[in-house]
Structure formats: structure tokens, C-alpha cells
Amino acid sequence: MSYRWQNIFWRNALPDYILPDFIRYRLLTTESTSSTTSASTMPQHREVSRHIKVNTELQTRKFCSNEISTCKYNAISFLPRFLLEQFRRYSNIFFLVIALLQQIPDVSPTGRYTTAVPFLMIMAISAIKEIFEDLKRRRMDYIVNNYLTLVLKDKEWKEKEWKNIKVGDIIKIIDGHVFPADIVLLTSSEHHGLAYIETSNLDGETNLKIRQAPKVSVEYNTKEKLEDMQAEIECEGPNKNISNFAGTLLIHNNKYALKANELLLRGARLKNTAWVYGAVVYTGHDAKLLRNSKTAPLKRSTIDMLTNNRIIFLFFVLVALALVCGGGAKIYDIFYLNDAWYLGKIAETNFAWNVLTFFILYNNLIPISLQVTLELVRFFQAGYINQDIQMYDEESDTAANARTSNLNEELGQVQYIMTDKTGTLTRNIMKFKKCSVQGINYGNDEDDSFRDGKLVEDFKNDNSDNKLVTHFLTLMAVCHTIVPEEKEDGKVEYHGSSPDESALVRGASRLGFIFETRAPDHVVIKKHGEEIKYYIDHTIDFDSDRKRMSVICHTDEGKYIVYTKGADNVILKRVKKDQVEAVKKSEQHLSDYAEKGYRTLCLCYRTLDADFYKEWSEKYSKATTAVPKDEKAVAELENEIETDMIFLGATAIEDKLQDYVPETIMAMKKADIKVWMLTGDKKETAINIAQSSALIDSKTQLHIIQHKNDIYKIKPSQLNNFTLAISGNVVKDVISAEHKTFVNDVVLKATTVVCYRMTPSQKAEIVEMVQKASNDVVLSVGDGANDVAMIQAANVGVGITGQEGLQAASSSDYSIAQFHFLRRLLLVHGAFNHDRTVKVILYSFYKNICLYIIELWFAFFSAFSGQTIFDRWTIALFNVVFTAFPPVMLGLFDRPVKARTMLEYPQLYRKFQERAFSNRIFALWIALSLWHSLLLFFLTYLIMENSILWESGEVGGWLMLGCSAYTYVVVTVCLKALLEADTWTAILLVFCFGSILSWFIFMIIYSEVWPWISIGADMKGVAGMMMSSGTFWAGLIFVPTVTLLIDFIIKGVQTSLFPSPRDLMVMKEKEDAKKKNVHTIRVRGDSDEYNDDPITNPTTTETTASERDQLRNNKIKPEYGSVSQLFNSNGLENEDRALINSPPVENGAYANPVMEDVELGTVDHSARFNKRNT
């Protein structure tokens, strides 16, 4: 069986190669208004309408093929497009200009090809990378284009590849398949031509949606009938608007107006329907999905931009140097060389030519290999993220995925995290947990989901007049918008837009009220074996103003009932006044539930007179169908029917937190990252979850900004350790320019901000506001389609591959399977990558300046003629061979501290940021490299001044000095890499010493090739001479040592007198390692062999349990006190200090030695934190 069928058939999980991950889909369903405007302003070729003849090859015009291509290049377009892309980078233009300037005769001091050749090498590497990536895309396209589907042809259903589907074809889609193109639904296997689709590919919503076939085509449900059908479709031209479609279906002169409800979009999936027939209207790149596909905005890391600024700075330095040296040349020409007869007339050069000469001479101040080095390093760093076994989720078999690699170091710069709530902090698996009926609580906290037989008993014994328990359960089963789906094994699965509702329906079915069928006008409930039909007369939907939903229904008995569920404050206002007792008890329960972080709903009902109902119903339908809709009247009528309700009780639904959420958030807070929660949920739920996930603790003041006026109530001066809760409807005001000071003084200073009732675009606006106001790096993390906008707006977007489809993950920069992996992603990968990347960049600048400024010192001795001190090819190969690898190795294998230390002391994260790429550090490195070049040149000069360095009396010429200096530079630069490295791994040592060796080998070969190959005549014999000179070797030991001595001393004084926190951590690591060797023998299981996370794997903590107890009681200070003292004097509160020395989670669990050792990883966190909060 072909996987092409199989995949579509059997797997519930979406094959994400239908949407290859390099396409970033930004679907604007949630912002349909903006999508319409952007579509209309798009200056693209517009096909106003199309006329399609169904089931025939003869179309009025040629339509786009269904074959999609996401490749960037083809054989012909590769070169021009590639070059265009490459020369958008300033540095590439720069090197091209240098390579061209070198072609001017007599201008270049380094020959004609010494820039062109390395430049071509680097371009070739980029080209190979591009080709490789494009081939990957091509292969993905090939797979997608060759999926099979059934097409009606010659009265038979024939299998055809997707790419061969044409506009006008009638195709048959089977349950579970993905639609290959945008098609108009003609008929389906179900009654009335109904079909259920799932659109998680398009908008991330996993609930089923109903589509209904046009009345005129429903009857064509066999292939014979279809074959005889003569149909035409007239519809609008292809556009990107997903929620709109307009057209006409014409079958045998019967006209039918088509709307979006009859259109099945490419990428959606047929569910719960045996088959559908449809006519293809938009194919390939005309399909709405592809019209909406958009490459993600290109994000650049802060470091990238800083590096660019530095390069521009160096460019001006270069120009200045060239001008100064050009002037120097003029002075020498006039005062010294004018009478030098031996020069003939060659000294009379012109100023501009000299400037050009020096411009070429010093061009390597701008490191030619930096781009490639960085790209290489980042590529492998991304590999570390993808391969991190500690960011691998066993349950979903998902590893972390770095979708872009150029933001790796940005992960180490994060100062704000914007997190979604549902599905990110919480699992979005709602469980019906408890309920309160008539003042009696059922269910408990311990069970995973509701398990209390008493309720069923009470139902069976319910002989009261009102039968409240029965109503309670009936409401749970009836009052919702869930669609049931019967699985092959007979089990029923519930689909709905609200997970709370599904939780209630599932809860009800477990209590014997099984919701079985939903038809357009009724639902079927199986009450303990007895099937009852409820005719749904009206459904008054939930919205954020009403905060309740109602269903008006009647049974066969003809009794009309209103079932209402909603937020407690809304419902309690609408119940009859005579139930004080029950309401009071329930209120007590409600506050209990809320404290535990449960989502609560209140339920009530009302019976209606048939007459009253009919009267109301007439008015209601009049009001709703009026054009324009009479909103006020509708609201009043809804109000009218939802009053004088009989209170039934309350439900508690638990949305469990993801694993280790509080620990992760506490770690982020310690790392000085401000965590904001942006959620579409209501205020109460948002604050509850914020509390249970440790975002808000009881000590902080909480200010709620619900209306515009609340902004003025907060006085910045009185604030200290406070949190804010901002409602979505004031976002506009907060963002507006007039409240700039409010944002700066209040909003950005809050320890946490919870934004509730946010739309996706408001989330993005908040992200942009923070970016603008604080100029800091903002990371967004989310899992649903509603987070896409914020993920794309943030500096770094992280997607959680969760319940709500892959929308967020595929538009993110990094995707992870669990929220708590964020901790490792930032604290370990982010901090490490940032540290390494900065090192790579600084080192690259350093080595270039160090080598090429020597040319400047030499100019003072060569009459500013632009003569190079080194051979031209040795210069050219400096960056691409002799010192190419040490920076790459630094970028890949350097480890500042242990990963575990980073996780245990998140405070270090901030300290790593401070080592950032600041002007001060850049200046320090530049100064050091100038000092190095000065020493390297003048020491060599003084040692070799005489040029007679052998007992034999031979004379070393120009290149004897040059090659010696070059050797000293290579050795110094390679050893500097070792000095800068935080960890000496074997591979680093091999590459550093190997680089030195490679220079010697190259030099030996190079000085022998003349005259066999006509290069390097000047180098002939130099290697042999150099290596036979004792002076050279004496210098080789001395010069690099003395040059690096200053670095050595600076580093030594700094680490021992002014140790940075990371140095202290290393001291502690070393101390711990010593202790471990002496005192404890630990047996490590297989599982913790790789896990160095102190939270998920606390058994590997190096301090023993008793030590921890002592530490917690602060009775005995740890033997090596530096770290705790460090944090002590920082004014951290007591409990925080305890955290530093004990495993980072402080809670009741630690009081229990059994739990501590056995079950820390599996304890129910929300429960634990709830305990703490009460």
C-alpha cells in the first residue's frame, strides 16, 4: 500500500509535509477584515471571475495547474537569482568591488586574484547550501504533487496524482483525506449532503465544521448521475480571502448561489463522512491556502545588526586608513623617493591610485569569512537544538526544531516572554472535576477526572418536584454546540470549539447521560439506556458580553425548557430569589474551585409556557432577521427569556498545567526575564492560571486595568513589586502615544503583566509595543493559530507543537513540544549560543585586525608604497584556511559552564547577557588586537632587523621577515583562541594546533612550487631558510608568548580579583567535582545518564538530601560559600536563597522525604501550588 494513501488515510496527526515547513502560513482568518484589505491592495494580476464547465476538459480558458512548486530556483534562474540574493548583502558587494579593483594594473598590492579566489570559494559554499535546500524543497513538492485522489473520468473513478487535477474535474474524497484543491461540494454520503471537515491545517481549529451541499446538486450521488450532469460554475477569481466565496452553480438551468459554506478548501480534511463529490474550482497556486502562504518576515538577530554596524564602522576606518596612507605615500614621494634614481620613474604615482592601493591592502579589516563562519556555526548550533535529547518529548515523539538558525544567539538575549495561556501553560485538556448541585459538592481534587458515584445515586433517588439533579445532568448533555463523531470501534468522540463544553459533555456521558447524535434540529441523549430526543429550538450563543449561553429546547412531551450556563456573576443575577440557601452554599464551593485554579460555570434552567415561548419566538426571529439586525431588541429578548431561572449548581473544570510550568516560570523570573501572559480567556481564569503557574504570587499587588480610566488611577510612585492585569479592550489606549510614560513607568516595570480577552492582533500589538518601548528582545510562545501573529511579531517566536494543530509551530522560529523545554532552550542553548556567537564575531574581527594592521606598521618602513609584508597568497588564505577553524570550533564546542549549572542558577542568564556585544567590549578587543599587531610587528622587526640570521651568513630577504611575522601571527591567533575558550575539548586543541601545523605544511610546499607552477617565486626557498634559523625559533617561542601575556594577565587578574559570576560558578563546579570524588559514590541509572536538568532529574543533585535539609534550615552554611554569599548580599529574600542552594522548587513536597526522592517528577503541580497558595 502506498504511503501516499496510507498517510492520508490512517493518521490522525496531520502530515506536515502537506504544508512543507519552510512555507510559513499566515492565515488571516481571525483577521478577515485586514485580509480583505490587503488582498484588494495587492497589485497582482487579477482574474475577476471565472467560468468553469464541470466534468469536461474543454474550459473557456487555461487555468493554473494543480502542481505546486515552492522551489526558489530552476536550472536557468539559479544563477541570476542566486547572485541577486547574494549581492543584497553589503559585504558581498564590498568584496566584489575589491576583486574588481584588483584587476586595475599596478594598483593592487596583492595581485589580481587574491580576493576573487577566496570570495569565489565562499560564494561556492553558499551556492551549494542553496542548491541543497532547494533540492529538499523540490523533493517535498514532488511528494505532495504525487498524492493520489479519485477523479471521475469515462464513467469511472480513476486515481490521479494531485498535480494532474484540473479545474472542472469532479473528484471523490474519502473520509480522512485532505482536499487536493479548492472544490465546490456537490454531494456527500450523508443526508442533505452534509459533510464534516476539519481545518486545523488552515486555521488551527481542531473542531469539526459542517458544510452542506447545494440543494440542486445533492441528488447527483452516483457516478452515472454525475456523468449525465451538465453543470457550470461561475465564480469570483482566485483570492486569498478564506471566509468569503461567491459564485453560481448552474445545473440543467437550475441556479444556485454558492457561498463559502459550499467550498472545501485545499488543506482541510474530510472527517466523519464516508465520501463527498466535488467540482474543482481553484487549483495549485490559485488555491486559497497557497494564496495565503507567505514567507515569514525575515528576522535578524540583534547581534547581526550590531555586527553590521561594526562592519560599517570598520569600513570607515578602512577608508580613513587608505586616505592617511595615501597622504603618507605622497609625503614620501616628495621628500624621500623623489631623488631615488633606482626607482626609475615609478615612484611618481598619483594620490587617488595610492588610496586605492591601500584600500585594497587593508580590505581584509572587514573579515571576508565572517558570514560563512557564522552561518556554519549557526547551522550546527541549530543542530544542537534539534538533537537535544532533553528537549525531546517521549509522549508525542517530538524533538525540538530550530526552523531558523539565525536567531540562535537571540535566545540568549531575551528579556520579555509573551506566553499564551491555553495549550501553552495549560494542557488544554479539560477535565470535568467537581460539581456543586443544590449546595452539595460532588467529586474531589485527587481523582484525575470526576468520579463520584453519589451523584448517580442521587439522580436515581431524585424524586423531588423539580428533579434538579436530572436537569443538571441534562443541561450538561444538551446545552452546548458539540458535534459527536462515532469512531470505527463504536466509541464516540466529541468535537467542539470549546474544550470546556466537551469536558462537560464527556462528564455527562460518564454519568450516564450520553450525547449521541446531533441533527440540524435535534439532539439525541441516551439517559441510562433510554434515548430521548431534544428538539433544539434556539441556541443563543456565548459571547464575551453575555458571558453565558442558552439552549431553548423541547421534548416530545412538548415541554419548553431554557438551559443556561455561564459565568457565576452573570448567572447568579438571573436566578429566582427564593434559593438563597443553595446559592450561598454553591458560592462557597465556587470560590473553593476558583482558588484551585478550576474553571467554573454556573448552570440554571427555566421552563416555559408553550404560549409564552411562541410569542417570544416570533418576536425573536423578527428581531434577528430584520435588516439591519436590531441588536438592541435581540439583546432585550435574550434577556427576557433568561430571567427568573432556577439555579442548578456549578461545575468545576480543570485545565491542567503543563509539566513543570511553575518551575519554569520561576526560573525565568530568576533569570530576570519578565513573563507576560496574553490570553483570549476571561479575567478570572487568566488570573487563576497566572497564580497557579507562579506568575503572580500572593505578595504582589495586583492592579487591574479594565477601563481606560484605570490607567490614570495608578500612580507610578507608589508602586513596588506589583503586577498588572490588562483587558483587551484597553490595549488600544495603552499602546497609544499619549500613554507613553505610563508604559515606561508602569507597564514595563511590573513584575508580571496578564493580558486577558486579547484578540490575536492585539497580542501582536502588545509584543510590538514592548519591543518599541523597551528596545529589548521579546520572545513569544504559543501553540495555536491565534498566536501566529504574536509569534511572527516577536524577535523570537517559539511554537509549542500541541493540541491545536501545527499552525503556531510552523510559523515559529523554534518549536518545542513542552512549555518547560523553554527553560533549556533559553538558559542553556540561548546563553551558550549567544556567548559563543559573540566570541566568534569578536575573534574574527580580532584576528583580521591583528594581521592586517601589521601592514600599516610596515608601511612606515616601506615608504608608504603599499608593499605587503606577507606574500599575497598567504594573506588570502589566512581567513579561509589557517585561522578558519578555531572560531568555528569556539562557536561549536565552547562551554562556559555546565548546562546543569545554567539551569540551577538562572541568574547566570542575565550575567551572560551583560557580556554582550557592547561597544566597550568591542573596543577592548580592538585595542587588544592593535596592541597585538604592534607587538607582533615590532618584536619581529627588532629580532630580524639585520636579516642575517644564520651562522652561514645567508641573507634573508623581504619574505624572511614577512613569513616569520606571519608565523608568529598565526601562532598567536590560534593560541588566543585557546585562551578565550572556556572549555578545552580535544577537538578544539586539534584544530588550534592543526591550524598552526597547516600553515607550516602550506609554507613548506608553497616555497617549493616555483618554478613548476608559476606562483610564489618570491617564496622560493623561504621555508627552508626560515626553519634553519635559530633566531626564528627563539622568536617563535618568545613573540606569541609575550604578545599573549597581556591577555593572560588581564584574564588572571580579572578571574581572581574581580571574578565574574560565571567564574565563581566554575570555581563551585570544580569544588563540587572534588567533593563528589571524595565523598559520594552515586549510582546513575541509564535514564539520568543524559539528563542534567535539576528539575526533571533531581536525583542527580550533587548535594545529598541531608545536606539540602541543613541548607534549607540555614543552620549550616555550605562549605564553599561563595555562591550563596553572592546571592545573599543581593538582597534576595530568604526563600529564594534557599532555592539557590537546594533544588530550585520550594514547596510542600520537600517536607516529605519520600516524595522528594521518589516522585518529584510526577507530582501534580497544580495541586502542589494550590496547596501553597491556600
Binding site: Y3, D16, A340, G383, G1024, G1052
Partner: protein, 383 residues
């Protein structure tokens, strides 16, 4: 319906997708999990002290050793730039090593019939200059490292195969002969054109007679460098000048390349002095090897014996125009080359500097005010 479609795609081609099972589980390899074994160096005062101490000991030891080596060398310089002006005395600005047992004085000039000037210097040796004594000439303010000068040569022409190769040799590529015929210059270029043509002769004043000091060029040039210079091929019947027939000598030269001879068979391009000259110097103040003492001669088996020597200099090469000077150097090399105290000095002075640094570091290490805890407290303030 469930047939096998399209066999050339196998399931390995599938991109990473969410499958059940553990297919996406990353491998637990040290290089993937960033757990390569490594040593974490921590540069504390104590480590620094140890390193510096070792370095000091090494520098002192090798500095002393280098000093002894260099001290064995001897050197004497005679600046003869102004010797043609009769009133000029030996105004020697060069570093003299007084214990080298050698003095020199200007004796006068000799003008021969064809206008050639010879400068004569008297040299007094109080000790034996033992071993193979070297003779150098030197110049300063001569920018042999001027960029366009350096490149004004053609190494392919010097290979003797294509004498007409004069690319890069501007401004000395071609020249008209007296009959106005245009020839490529051999050797072409500014470097060759400015070939140094002063010659020297040293005589030993012994028992009232002047014995010429025998000189040789053997082993004074690197074998590798030698291969860069080859005369054009010529048959046994003809001579070198015929091989150079279609070329013309550089404008500044008094003689054709083919007649250039160093008396030891170094003809034409393979002429010793020419080869030495063509190795351009790195700095504007340079010296180049001229000859060394031929110790095969009985009298000079042990070097230059003490006594009086007369130096005859054929004064040809103009340096006054560019304020240069010319000098003649008698020297004995150490293992490290020319007598140059820089290396031992810098070794020893670095060691001294490090010694002071060590004292400072020891004080810091011992001082209670700089104790670890104190340091930590300091840092904590900034934390």
C-alpha cells in the same frame, strides 16, 4: 485500492513527521548533547603564578644562553659613503662593539686613469678573527621594499627560458640599442637595473708585503633561492653572450649580463652578487653578503690573523642623491646570525618585568584584604 504506488519513493524519504514510537528521539551522543569531555581552565592567581614562574625560569635560562651565543659573534663596520671627499674621516654612526678587537681608519683615495675611484681603509686587528669571517656591504635609506620596485622584475625571465618575458618590469622593459633597434632588457626591471656595483678587495699587510685575503662565495646563498636563477641554454660551441644575443643590458649597467663574473664561475644570471642583490631586502636599512674568508688557504686556515689589513673599495655606486649611505662590514656570525643583543636583552628584561609582576601577585595573594571572601563580597555588590 491499496496497491503499491510509485515504488521509487520509499518511506525513508518522508520528512520528519509526528509518528508514534520513538523514531524522532535524538541520539545520545556526547557531540550531539554538548557533552564532549573537556577541561575547564580557570585562571586563578595561583595558576597564573605557576605559569609566570615557569615562564620566568625559562626566559632567564634561555636569555643567558642566548647572550652567550650572541656574545661570541664579532662585527666591525666601515662607513665609506663620503670617502671620496678627502677631508672625510671615518664618521661611523654604527653600533660598535669595542671588545671585538678591531679598528679601522681612512687612508685615502686612488684615482685611476679611467676615472675610477678607489677608497683605501686601514684595518687593525688585535685578536684573531677565527673561523669563517664574513664580509658584507650595507646601505640605508634605500627602499628596496618599495612596492613598485619590488615587483619590477620577471622571475620567468630569470629562469633563462624566455628572455623576452619582461611583463611587470616597468619602467625597464625594452630599450633601443645604439642602432635604434628595440630589445627586451635582460635582466629587466628596476631591481636588476639598480644592481650594486661597488667591489671590494682586502689585503693582509704581512712582512711588508700585501697578501690578498682569499675570498669565496661558497655556501653563502640558499640552494632553494639559487634555483630561481638560470642562464639560458647555449651549445658548447657558442658562449653565453650569444644566448643573450637578442637582449640588451639595463640602462644603468656598465657591462652586459653575460660578462658578469664573480671569479668563481658565477656567470650571467647565476652570478653570486646578482643573485644576492635580486633577493630584495625587507627594510630600507639592509646589508647583503659579499664574500667570506676562504679558509682553504694556508695563511688564513684559522681565520684572519692579527695584524694590519688594507681595504680597497671600487667606488661606483651613487647613494648621495637619496641620502643613503654605504658601508662595509667584517663580521663573525654566531649560531643566531649577526651580533644582535636584542633577543637576549628582551628575554632577560621580560623576565625581570615578570619578576616584579610575581612579587605583586604574591602580595595580592597573601594580603588578607584580597582574600577570596573579600573579593566575593566586592563582586556581590555588583551582582
Amino acid at each position: 485500492m491499496r496497491r503499491i504506488f510509485n515504488r521509487n519513493l520509499d518511506s525513508e524519504d518522508l520528512p520528519n513527521i509526528r509518528r508514534r514510537g520513538k523514531k524522532n528521539r535524538p541520539k545520545d551522543k556526547p557531540y550531539l548533547q554538548q557533552k564532549l569531555v573537556g577541561y575547564r581552565p580557570l585562571l586563578t592567581l595561583r595558576v597564573g603564578l605557576v605559569v609566570i614562574a615557569i615562564l620566568e625560569i625559562f626566559l632567564v635560562a634561555s636569555g643567558c644562553f642566548l647572550f652567550l651565543l650572541v656574545n661570541a659573534a664579532k662585527e666591525h663596520t666601515i662607513d665609506y659613503t663620503n670617502c671620496t671627499q678627502l677631508n672625510d674621516t671615518n664618521n661611523n654612526n654604527y653600533l660598535e662593539f669595542p671588545n671585538d678587537g678591531i679598528t679601522s681608519s681612512f687612508e685615502g683615495i686612488e684615482t685611476s686613469g679611467n676615472g675610477n675611484i678607489k677608497c683605501i681603509y686601514k684595518i687593525n686587528l688585535t685578536t684573531t678573527y677565527d673561523g669563517s669571517v664574513k664580509f658584507y656591504y650595507g646601505m640605508n635609506n634605500f627602499y628596496q621594499n618599495m612596492r613598485l620596485y619590488v615587483r619590477s622584475r620577471n622571475d620567468e625571465q630569470l629562469q633563462g627560458k624566455k628572455l623576452s618575458m619582461v611583463d611587470d618590469c616597468q619602467p625597464f622593459k625594452h630599450r633601443n640599442n645604439t642602432k635604434n633597434r628595440r630589445f627586451p632588457i635582460a635582466p629587466c626591471g628596476a631591481v636588476a637595473n639598480s644592481f650594486f656595483n661597488d667591489t671590494f678587495a682586502l689585503k693582509y699587510y704581512y712582512n711588508g708585503t700585501e697578501i690578498p685575503v682569499p675570498w669565496t662565495t661558497n655556501g653563502l646563498i640558499d640552494e632553494g633561492v639559487k634555483t630561481k636563477y638560470k642562464n639560458p641554454q647555449y651549445s658548447l660551441k657558442s658562449n653565453l653572450c650569444e644566448a643573450f644575443a637578442n637582449t640588451i643590458r639595463p640602462p644603468a649597467w656598465p657591462q652586459d649580463i653575460c660578462t658578469l663574473d664573480d671569479n668563481e664561475g658565477g656567470l650571467g644570471f647565476e652570478n653570486f652578487d646578482f643573485m644576492v642583490w635580486m633577493q630584495t631586502a625587507a627594510l630600507p636599512d639592509f646589508r647583503k653578503i659579499y664574500r667570506q674568508l676562504d679558509i682553504r688557504n694556508e695563511t688564513f686556515r684559522d681565520g684572519l690573523p692579527p695584524g694590519t689589513y688594507i681595504l680597497y673599495i671600487n667606488f661606483n655606486y651613487p647613494v648621495k642623491e637619496f641620502n643613503g649611505n654605504k658601508r662595509f662590514i667584517i663580521a663573525i656570525e654566531s649560531k643566531m646570525g649577526t651580533k644582535n643583543y636584542f633577543l637576549p636583552t628582551i628575554y632577560l628584561s621580560t623576565a625581570v618585568a615578570l619578576f616584579f609582576a610575581t612579587i605583586f601577585l604574591v602580595v595580592v595573594e597573601c594580603c588578607p584584604c584580597a582574600g577570596l571572601n573579600n573579593k566575593l563580597r566586592q563582586v556581590a555588590k555588583h551582582f
